[in-house]
Symmetry: C2
Subunit: 201 residues, 2 copies
DNA sequence: TAATTGTACATTGTTAACAATTAATTGCAA
DNA sequence: TTGCAATTAATTGTTAACAATGTACAATTA
């Protein structure tokens, strides 16, 4: 059964803005005007401000007192490299926690997410593909370490994914994810870790 | 010369609440009432809400829609261990960036922060000691990687420091920090990294 | 009694007006 | 024209009232 989770107004606005930033529709340094955003989403500035604070803490925006929020610049190569290492450490930790400790239902759910990735890839919906990619990793990170681990992991991956171009070229992306699930299904920890490492780069 | 940075109302409120949480004055699961906080700080609920969102994203609070915010529970031992590894990775990265690339003024500033730590330790002001400890690390992390690296690092260390008891017993804490600065001053990367590793645990 | 519904209360969510700050513009003088 | 000061406009920060939601407890029913 599908969950159809109810999302608050603020979380929906945050999702849209995250998409706009990850897709590049909102370019680095683009200024976000609270009033205009409020009009766009049909709310007042209050909820907009809440979302801007959230996205700032997630690293997608930069805020200056009394001046406002704008889209962050891409990470330097050094920090991008460090972020990859941190992300690997977190996701490898997650895989270890899941060894011999994952249900068929969870594996099926991950299969379903990968199917969705395949669809988006076929239709060349690359922003949606990126979001589904993130959704996949978020799913098993949350499974392994709950909200605490997710909170540790989320800003790292979001910030990394700004202006991320690999996804447009890679035909193997979907398969990489199938390999991860296969390894988890076989409870083959070593294979799972190496699959994760191949996927995160 | 001392900086005496101007802090916004919201940042000052955030600082007080962070202290309350790190010191344990606000216990895990304690509920934070927006109206009462507003009265305590002499503001309206607006700025309070801003701060609660920030602290939630920093991992110190947990928020539920239409219910409110409460203090997070301590990390599980597994996640505490993972956080230590991540923190080491980030701070070791910072040290590498700083090798042969740090000014006398910066070193002097770090000395001054350690002097402040010593004072707090002598007076048994343990919450202030913890905050100064964090200030030290934040200083050189920011020096090495700017705002981006700081944003990556900050939530990890804050969440770790909840209910952190080592500081009450350790007489060597201040010295550990002197060793770090000494190593940086000598541009001895290996020594700096091993000093950092000894300090982060 | 146990479960359920209904109601009153407390708390968070949202809004719009107002205050404070910053950015942009204008006018003036050298 | 250029540089600067004063003024104006645009934007964010704050506030207080109101709406919507969730919680606790009493009343009701099986």
């Amino acid at each position: 059964m599908k969950s159809n989770k109810i999302l608050s107004v603020r979380e929906q606005i945050a999702d849209v803005l995250r998409s706009d930033i990850i897709s590049g529709e909102l370019e680095p340094n683009a200024k976000l005007n609270e009033q205009k955003l409020a009009e766009r989403f049909g709310t007042s500035r209050g909820p907009i401000r809440d979302v801007l604070i959230k996205l700032t803490k997630e690293g997608l925006l930069v805020s200056k007192d009394n001046v406002g929020s704008s889209v962050s610049s891409p990470l330097t190569p050094e920090l991008q490299k460090l972020s990859i290492e941190i992300r690997r450490k977190i996701e490898e930790h997650a895989v270890k926690q899941l060894e011999n400790n994952i249900s068929e239902a969870d594996l099926a759910q991950m299969d379903a997410i990968i199917d969705k990735m395949q669809e988006h890839f076929d239709k060349e919906e690359f922003t949606e593909l990126t979001k589904t990619d993130i959704e996949f990793h978020k799913y098993f990170v949350g499974l392994a370490g709950g909200e605490d681990l997710t909170n540790l992991w989320y800003p790292v991956v979001l910030r990394m994914r700004m202006n991320y171009q690999r996804i447009r070229n890679s035909q193997t992306l979907v398969d990489e994810h199938r390999h991860i699930v296969d390894a988890l299904r076989k409870n083959d920890l070593k294979l799972a870790i190496s699959s994760i490492r191949k996927n995160i780069k």
